[in-house]
Symmetry: C2
Subunit: 332 residues, 2 copies
Amino acid sequence: MGEFELIRQYFAAAPCAQGGAGVVLGIGDDCALLEVAADEHLAVSTDTLVAGVHFPDPCDAFLLGQRALAVAASDLAAMGAAPLGFTLALTLPQADPLWLQAFAHGLGVMAQACRLVLVGGDTTRGPLSLTLTVFGRVPRGQALRRCGARPGDVLCVGGALGDAAAALPLVLGQRPVAATLADPLLARYWSPQPQLDLGIALRGRATAALDISDGLLGDCGHIAAASAVALYIEQERVPLSAALRALLPMPEARQCALSGGDDYVLAFTLPAGHVPALQAAGWPVAVIGRVEAGQGVHLLDAEGRVLNVPAQGYQHFPATAPVSERSSGPQD
Amino acid sequence: MGEFELIRQYFAAAPCAQGGAGVVLGIGDDCALLEVAADEHLAVSTDTLVAGVHFPDPCDAFLLGQRALAVAASDLAAMGAAPLGFTLALTLPQADPLWLQAFAHGLGVMAQACRLVLVGGDTTRGPLSLTLTVFGRVPRGQALRRCGARPGDVLCVGGALGDAAAALPLVLGQRPVAATLADPLLARYWSPQPQLDLGIALRGRATAALDISDGLLGDCGHIAAASAVALYIEQERVPLSAALRALLPMPEARQCALSGGDDYVLAFTLPAGHVPALQAAGWPVAVIGRVEAGQGVHLLDAEGRVLNVPAQGYQHFPATAPVSERSSGPQD
């Protein structure tokens, strides 16, 4: 039996590959079989992470396993889909048992947190990269699209922004910082928490939604374009974490929150009347702006004056990668 | 707009990304949405192809597009699933418009042949590789598993075997051969035809099935193990194409058919009584052996004597790749 066959057996026996509602057949046959109720649709999203482009190489395998699944699962949250399962296509230069053990552990921790079951995949030899395809279920007609924002809606986010972008120089070891300052930000980078339950709570309330992967301003541009509306963002209302404010002076911290990516926090529009009930129920909903007729994304200062929107183009992993543009794809 | 954003738009506008029964929402939002009827299951399979490991680099982009989707779609055929859609995770060292155009054309030709719609994916920069995840629908309880073969069943294949393995030295330019000899074999390598309609016809008839990707003997071992039975293969009955027999002397031709992979022809077991009706309906069903109590795969000569089974270990792309073992995965 070859070493890659052993990897196959290793993943098939992993706790994250066992059971799961909606998983009729998991690893081991030509296909997995999933179950979707008659009043549901299946939501599907695919994400690829390439070593040296989307994450440092080498990096901690446990953290990589966590992060890869979180990034993929966040697209289910953005759609309001209930998590079901995922496939893992893992390409490795060699089969290193310690690396695999740590990677599978990180993957398993995030799979449990996200209630996702490993249902299949492929393991091949080659330059290190991972492609994860995630599956979720959403009641018919209730998926959170990008195209439904309406003038009069408010624009909200599901939590503080900018932490992951601020963590990037720390991930790359370019900025010596005390652990007390660095650790909370590094945690946001390496183990983002897909807002799956918030996405489900927004069904029937949010008119548009997505997860912020490329930066608030850039991603809000997708909602504005898909919905054919203008979004006005009051920069003073964009929530910043205490950890971010402790690390960086305000202009830099705000820049991370507005243009930095990798946070995997939801951004969404909805009628203002829904906000109090959501907040009262404990959901982290921060109003940061409003939807108006028009187009594009507009940034406002504390006095309501329109500011120049900073140039976009957040790079998920800019510092050591060999090329200037990292990633985009048929689905964001 | 960056070049990878242009690729995104390119695939979103491609003919193979338009429409499709069961595709509620395709490229352009956080997730695609698929529809599965109440009496159906969704079948899912993922395959990765790495440059220099699973295909020559460089190679013809049109042929690569065709072959990548055919390899993935064959798993749907093996499960008896009706084709629905697929995602493409494409990692490229650079965005070359001519390469992309040819690749998308090949992908589109195979997508049309397989009735599969591109519903999403990801495009990233990195060493050339492709991960395709395919989706199909199968009536509940009618998926063709590997575990149902019963003593008394016959073992069949869906066509001639060995052509793709015989083509490998031609693909690599290692064996100068006249085009009239080479072309039919090269076609079998570069554009295998997933037996989707045969898989559907086998629902309710076949007791076990898979597609031959790693060689007849090795893959039949999966059926024998999953079903806890013995398979006896009469080597004289294994069908060989005229093209294969024209290229190679019998011992080599037979070796390709028994141990060569990449054919993506179905192998299946079923009660002998089903065979005449299938053949009368025009399905390419060749009986090559039988199922008995026991275990393992046993090869028989023309007199019914048990032969030594040749050592396994077909390599999909052995000649120029840097390592000795190519691929295996959570799903075969």
